[in-house]
């Protein structure tokens, strides 16, 4: 695991060091993907938006003023692109599925993903980010602007809501 901080990697990426930006991708990909999937609830669409987020981030590195805030900045880009994606999904066929329909390739977990998609945003987003990104409550709390204990409570409440829906 590369031990350079986000600040150093971002500064080096801006100077053209491609391996530095790749390290940023490896470090933050799953977290951004978790956010995209939590908003879009379609895995293929989430992967596409996640990839476009990092590509746009690479082009727009000059706009980042504080290199130590790369994680928050890339999440903001991802969130904006997801919101744009949801808007476009309503208007056109840009995305492969209809609104709030789980991807057909969810297989054995289609009931679970349908139930997750039906959760309120405040519970669904931390839940999906938690399980896709290796249980990093601190990072989730930082990106959502809340405390670690709040994230914990919302995740457990989400589990109870899922249980009630799946038991019906």
């Amino acid at each position: 695991m590369d031990e350079r901080s986000d600040q150093i990697l971002t500064a080096q990426s801006r100077q053209g060091d491609k391996t530095a930006y790749e390290q940023l991708v490896l470090r933050h990909y799953r977290h951004v993907l978790g956010l995209c999937y939590a908003i879009l609830m379609n895995f293929n669409d989430a992967q596409d938006v996640c990839q476009e987020t990092f590509l746009r981030g690479f082009e727009k590195l000059q706009d980042l003023r504080d290199d130590s805030l790369f994680a928050n900045w890339i999440h903001q880009i991802a969130r904006r692109m997801c919101v744009d994606g949801l808007r476009r999904r309503k208007k056109s066929q840009f995305f492969s599925t209809l609104n709030e329909q789980p991807c057909s390739s969810d297989g054995d977990y289609s009931d679970l993903t349908t139930a997750i998609a039906g959760l309120p945003d405040d519970y669904r987003i931390p839940l999906v980010m938690y399980y896709l990104d290796g249980h990093d409550e601190r990072a989730i709390a930082s990106h959502l602007g809340t405390s670690q204990s709040t994230v914990c409570r919302r995740i457990q409440t989400a589990k109870q809501l899922l249980y009630e829906r799946l038991s019906e």
Binding site: Q51, F54, L55, D108, Q160, L162
Partner: protein
């Protein structure tokens, strides 16, 4: 089925599932769970949901890895085409400006040469006095205008790179210095401990020798006292014998008086 734990313990159970309780708190909660069915069912439900969600996330792992690899590949392809194009556009502008200057010069000479009764010397004199300085100035301004942003960018990039390198090498120097200080402190502590151990050994040996000497002296003293006692006893006996031989009457009368 509704699962409703005790209101007093619901938050605690959720914190326990997140690993936020201390060992003492966890032990206390486990004791409660063993005696409270609603709380125990709530805890079991959370654990079951955790397992199901973890399995779901694991099932996405290979697709996530594929997506990540695809992105890295796209990034590598993207980088190659971006920077050189900008530079070529800039230098193209400079060449265009130079080409325009040459055309203007060619136009001037053509126009002048077509006029009647003008010699080559007059033509070149007019050119070098009026047109050439103006064209040189305009060409220099155009080149400076185009190169200035690039030079500024290069200067900023070098400054950033130098700052980053200075920060990194300072951090490395501090870390190295701290590591060396720690090593020196450890070596000093080891040396002190060795010296202390050696001193303790020396003192211990000295005490042992003192003790042995003391015991030896004690034996000798005891021996001398015993010898002295024997000698004294013999001396006393001899003296009594001598006194008796010298004055047996005196010795007898003194015994009678007693």
């Amino acid at each position: 089925m509704n699962i409703n734990p005790c209101p007093d313990h619901k938050t605690e159970i959720e914190a326990y599932c997140c690993g936020h309780l201390s060992p003492a708190q966890a032990a206390s909660l486990q004791e409660h769970l063993s005696g409270c069915s609603p709380c125990s069912r709530y805890y079991d439900m959370l654990i079951q949901q955790d397992k199901q969600l973890s399995a779901w996330a694991d099932s996405l792992d290979s697709r996530i890895q594929d997506g990540q690899n695809s992105l890295l590949q796209r990034l590598r392809e993207k980088e190659v085409s971006s920077a050189p194009l900008e530079r070529s556009l800039r230098y193209r502008y400079i060449w265009h400006t130079a080409a325009a200057a040459v055309l203007i010069a060619a136009g001037f000479f053509s126009a002048r040469l077509l006029q009647p009764a003008i010699s080559k010397e007059q033509l070149f004199a007019e050119w070098s006095q009026t047109i050439q300085p103006q064209m040189e100035q305009k060409l220099a301004e155009a080149v400076a205008r185009q190169l200035r942003p690039e030079l500024l960018q290069m200067r900023n990039d070098l400054a950033d790179k130098m700052t980053t390198q200075i920060s990194e090498s300072t951090a490395q120097s501090v870390a190295l210095s701290q590591a060396m200080n720690a090593k020196l402190i450890r070596e000093f502590a080891d040396a002190v401990q060795t010296v202390q151990s050696r001193d303790r050994q020396v003192v211990s040996d000295a005490l042992l020798r003192l003790e042995e000497k003391r015991l030896q002296d004690k034996k000798q003293t005891q021996k001398a006292v015993t010898s002295l006692a024997l000698a004294t006893g013999e001396e006393i006996a001899r003296t009594r014998r001598q006194l008796f031989e010298a004055s047996p009457v005196l010795f007898d009368s003194s015994n009678t008086n007693q």
